[in-house]
């Protein structure tokens, strides 16, 4: 069970957005993509989620080419949170999360339970009956996070692990306050501990260092460094890719990396 990109290239009107990328997202692991703007992070995520077709190369999802999956079966185990959603209709927050259950046929009672729990873990229960269009940016993002969680939710089954499930989140914390950024990391970690494979695109290197099992640092459409956070987040690598001088220390509290600018 895995989500693997093999020799992926994406050429958009003469410009290579991705060139020869090999990436594997493994079950139960958190993989984080970092890199400067325009490095191809979102393009890679969109290719992995079959939103756009690569110019060459292939995506193997759970042992089968992603194009050969039935869209509904794929949606049951691969959930994606995009950076922007264009929703402009007055659904309630609850109804937006319920849309995640579209590919499932678990019945409305079970679906309502899942929606309520998903709202609860993203700290948005109080938003349930509010109109989505009237929410703030961070609140909207939390609703969409709850939606992407609800899509691969099935904790009721006998199945102990969920190693066939994958969650791809594109900058999930970009408009969150400090508390909700930490909350997101906790949620993501708890999902990965149940076997869900997770791909994050992040700009905050400290958050990435804190939660990731594998970091992919991208530049100009190519992964330049891949490995454990402490292998990738070195002062030299960050200066080379981002052009910013930093100090990398170890946090004495939790032994995680601390990147200071």
């Amino acid at each position: 069970m895995s989500l693997v990109a093999e020799k992926l290239s994406l050429n958009c009107s003469g410009v290579f957005l991705l060139r020869d990328v090999n990436v594997s997202i493994l079950p139960g692991k958190i993989t984080t993509i970092v890199g400067p703007n325009g490095a191809g992070k979102t393009s890679l995520l969109r290719c992995l989620s079959n939103d756009i077709s690569p110019t060459s190369g292939s995506i193997i999802f759970n042992g089968k080419d992603i194009n050969n999956w039935d869209p509904i079966d794929r949606a049951k185990s691969l959930s994606v949170l995009t950076q922007h959603s264009s929703l402009d209709f007055p659904f309630t927050a609850e109804e937006v999360v319920l849309l995640a259950r579209t590919p499932h046929d678990t019945g409305s009672i079970r679906d309502d339970e899942i929606v309520a729990t998903a709202l609860k873990i993203v700290d948005a229960t109080y938003l349930a009956n509010r109109q989505y269009t009237q929410l703030s940016g961070g609140e909207k993002q939390r609703i969409h996070l709850a939606r992407s969680l609800a899509q691969i939710w099935d904790l009721d089954t006998k199945q102990k692990d969920h190693t066939d499930r994958f969650l791809l989140l594109d900058e999930p914390t970009s408009s969150f306050d400090l508390a909700h950024q930490q909350l997101t990391l906790e949620i993501v970690s708890s999902f990965s501990s149940r076997g869900v494979g997770i791909l994050l695109v992040m700009h905050d290197l400290n958050l990435a260092a804190k939660c990731s099992d594998q970091v992919i640092m991208m530049e100009c459409g190519k992964p330049v460094k891949t490995g454990l956070p402490k292998e990738v987040f070195t002062a030299e690598n960050i200066e080379q890719v981002f052009g910013v001088r930093v100090k990398v220390q170890e946090n004495p509290e939790n032994k995680k990396l601390l990147i200071v600018i």
Binding site: D51, L87, P103
Partner: protein
């Protein structure tokens, strides 16, 4: 969850349709009292049972003829056309993810208008020969024009990577402009009588209602009401955005194709049997959304019912305001619908501010 409330709203709308239709059948240049209405209904039913209405013609009352030959087909046609236009509007707004979208965006109305004008001008000799045949010829021209426009819009906005909704919007505007220019040329070369026919047709009217037209509209409305609700989950997901809908397992290309085809059938048929009736497709779904929210599972049936009601009421007013003459129904739909719409908007506005 708003589900229970939305279901109730939909049911209320559907149940109020029947008294609405009866009431509308009573009013007109000749008012028919409820007692006479029931008498006529009973005798009509008993006659059709035995199929001997020709021999019994002497006993057929004045009111009965008005009802069976004029009022009933007209009221039923109004209901069917209103339902078609409103649910097509609802799904178009969902497809374009824009509450201001309208079925005419994909060129069907302007194409139909150009088609009808073409027939009025170039087939005028046949139009005079027989009024029944002439009217269906205009309807045929309208539906062909509408279908051609939609086909063109769809073809031009579809590439190897699929149909682009924003491109479709632009191509729709361009095709509408082109059809408008054609229409302008036709008006320019038309004589006075043709010009009057063309502009009356464009205002839309139900005065040519007969059971044949009811049959055609009935087929279109049944197709829409049976198939569109199957797309409601997909359309709900569509509101999130096309990528998001794909991530939820929706085959977006197939949804787009079906919605466009069904809208072309619905609007094309409506335009063919009743001319251009504006406003219903744009505003009825909007009204429904203000009350029950954007969930297509309830939006589509509720819009159909409310569209039917609005057109029945508008057509009744069209018959009585300047009786014994008639106003084109298309004018009345806007005159009646706009104030109601404003009322809903201001009411909603207060709720938001509170």
């Amino acid at each position: 969850m708003r589900g229970a409330r939305s279901r109730k709203f939909t049911l209320i709308l559907f149940f109020s349709l029947i008294p609405m239709m009866i009431l509308a059948a009573l009013v007109g240049p000749v008012f028919i009292s409820p007692a006479k209405f029931i008498d006529s209904l009973v005798s009509m039913l008993s006659i059709t049972d035995f199929g001997s209405n020709i021999s019994n013609q002497a006993s057929v009352s004045h009111e009965e003829v008005i009802l069976s030959a004029i009022r009933f087909p007209r009221v039923v046609l109004a209901a069917l056309v209103g339902a078609c236009l409103a649910c097509c509007g609802a799904v178009m707004q969902g497809l374009f993810r824009n509450p201001l979208a309208d079925p005419s965006l994909i060129g069907v109305s302007s194409g139909a208008s150009a088609g009808a004008s073409f027939v009025i001008i170039f087939c005028s000799t046949w139009l005079h020969s027989s009024s029944f045949f002439g009217l269906t010829l205009v309807a045929f021209g309208a539906s062909t024009g509408g279908a051609l426009a939609v086909l063109l819009v769809y073809r031009l906005s579809t590439s190897s990577t699929g149909t682009s909704v924003p491109t479709m919007l632009l191509v729709g505007i361009a095709i509408s402009a082109l059809a408008g220019a054609l229409n302008g040329i036709f008006s320019f070369i038309a004589d006075n009588e043709m010009l009057r026919r063309m502009s009356l047709w464009q205002m839309g009217s139900l005065d040519a209602a007969n059971w044949f037209r009811v049959g055609i509209a009935g087929i279109a409305a049944s197709i829409l009401l049976i198939t569109l609700p199957n797309q409601s989950q997909a359309l709900n997901a569509f509101l999130l955005g096309e990528s998001e809908a794909r991530h939820l397992g929706i085959d977006t290309e197939r949804v787009k194709q079906r919605i466009i085809l069904l809208t072309a059938i619905g609007v094309g048929t409506s335009v063919a049997v009743a001319g251009m009736i504006s406003f219903v497709g744009l505003v009825v779904p909007h009204m429904v959304r203000l009350v029950i929210g954007p969930d297509h599972r309830y939006l589509i049936p509720s819009s159909a019912a409310l569209g039917a009601i609005l057109l029945i009421v508008a057509d009744s007013f069209a018959r009585i305001i300047v009786a014994p003459a008639e106003l084109p129904t298309g004018i009345l739909t806007a005159l009646l619908g706009v104030p109601f719409f404003f009322w809903l908007l201001t009411k909603n506005h207060h709720r938001i501010q509170r």
